[in-house]
Symmetry: C2
Amino acid sequence: MRILLTGGGGFLGARLARELLQAGQLDGRPLTELAIADLAPPPADIAADPRVKAYTGPLLSQTALFASGFDGVFHLASAVSGECELDFELGLRSNLDSTRALLEGLRHAGNVPRLVFASSVAVFGPDVGNPLPDLVTDTTLPSPQTSYGTHKLMCEYLIADYTRKGYIDGRSARLMTVSVRPGKPNGAASSFFSGIIREPLAGVETTCPVDPNVTHPVSSPAHTVKGLITVYQASREALGGRLALNLPGLNVSVGDMLNALEAVAGVKVRARVRFERDERIASIVANWSRGSTADRAKALGLLPETSFRAIIEQYIADCRSRPGYPADALRGLD
Amino acid sequence: MRILLTGGGGFLGARLARELLQAGQLDGRPLTELAIADLAPPPADIAADPRVKAYTGPLLSQTALFASGFDGVFHLASAVSGECELDFELGLRSNLDSTRALLEGLRHAGNVPRLVFASSVAVFGPDVGNPLPDLVTDTTLPSPQTSYGTHKLMCEYLIADYTRKGYIDGRSARLMTVSVRPGKPNGAASSFFSGIIREPLAGVETTCPVDPNVTHPVSSPAHTVKGLITVYQASREALGGRLALNLPGLNVSVGDMLNALEAVAGVKVRARVRFERDERIASIVANWSRGSTADRAKALGLLPETSFRAIIEQYIADCRSRPGYPADALRGLD
């Protein structure tokens, strides 16, 4: 089968690509082609696989590709929230127009391809008269507080309508904040949810911009990728409706994340994190979900991870064995 | 002040235009220009007003107009639900692309114009795991079952984001089904909500395609226009949030609509309505809201109408005095 992966040049997309290539099949059918469309080229180990075809450039220039009859699509490509807040038109183009171009291509192909759309917990936010509940559920009324969340939500509904019309078999899965991401801080307001673990493990001093009692739903890279594949493979009946579903998140406080870091790596590593409140970031995070539930994902067999300690241990194991993790990622461990 | 009205060639838009022109002011400021953009030209009595400028043609061709610095906008232009179901691309173009072109023009104008968007009760619908409640509220999770409702909902969220960014002062008001509309049946599945009153009053035999116990929120043309103007004039604080609000609807059953018709016009008039179930229409209507509440509109002083009898009496009075009502509209009255 031919699979299209948008955003395969990014960290999560590359991890999904490696998972699919290694499995060699999806939904019981052999993977013969993995087309990767992204602004950035895929990492070398992925590009070297003979099943991979890389299409590097703006998605909006790939309309012919989209209509070429893929069996399935993972649509992860996106400008991130910080970029969209700085450049309103970039957000509309990258997150709304590109998705529309993709959907139109798939519709014109005529073979009703399956599509998994990576939506986000960022669709949720507080509004007057519609406060955020302690836990956002599959049926919490979204009220995005960023252009990024707005466009993700608009695409969720558009995908539901293309599905209703029988043009695609679309599913939207809301990703929780991915932690621990490897590499550099990326300037997103959520960057610290990885940074407060990643930097001290690399021996780098860092700051936490919010109070230790701030809680948030997080998910490891591996668990997030597993969620996307599970949602792809679910039957239409098992999905339980066309509306987007939450992927599972571990609801954890910043303080407990650091306690887990200390338990895994010791007090010296934890001491590299200093609390230094950043009002700009703290005020953004105050509008974010404090936790989530994921009942529909649970019905597909997807449960949240059970401890942040296990997430850190997995990160350390990934640093030692996986492509995409810098060589000096664990320099801070004794 | 300069006001733009899209959809001013339609029945509701024309009624709003006449109301604005007659008042001569909006929000306490004198109306100096009313630009009307629509596929169809405005009725002659409106076009004759020296304050009116008509821009007839597709909204997508009016980008320069949109950026010309209007103080306020009523955005009513829309392809209706039946059209969008028949022609998917028409719906995307007329209801999504046109709204985006309008919003971009208003953003580029740079004067933060106020905008009222006519959304619809059609954003609501049932999904697996998200059944329709007996009454849809301001905070019911939408799940549109038509492309029309999907595009309206997407525009609601886009308008909220343009407002959050400070580009416009946008408000989305969900119209309930307007009854009694004058003129011909329009092929929409909701057409009978007007037809079962309008046709017998005109002396025309008609059928009701659903059971008498079907209930639905309806609003008269006058009340709907009043709702749009009230939402325009509300302060940002009084609106209570950026999410769309329901306009008030009278929750009434088809049977009670006909009882009211009999009370106003007699048993002979009512007898011109025959129940003849149409499975196609009945199955569409089964996915519609059975009633609504409108708490945020209530806080603006907007209450639902209190009897369908009063709505019929208003229709009869309108037929006798208002432009846009056919001369033979009451031929069925003794």
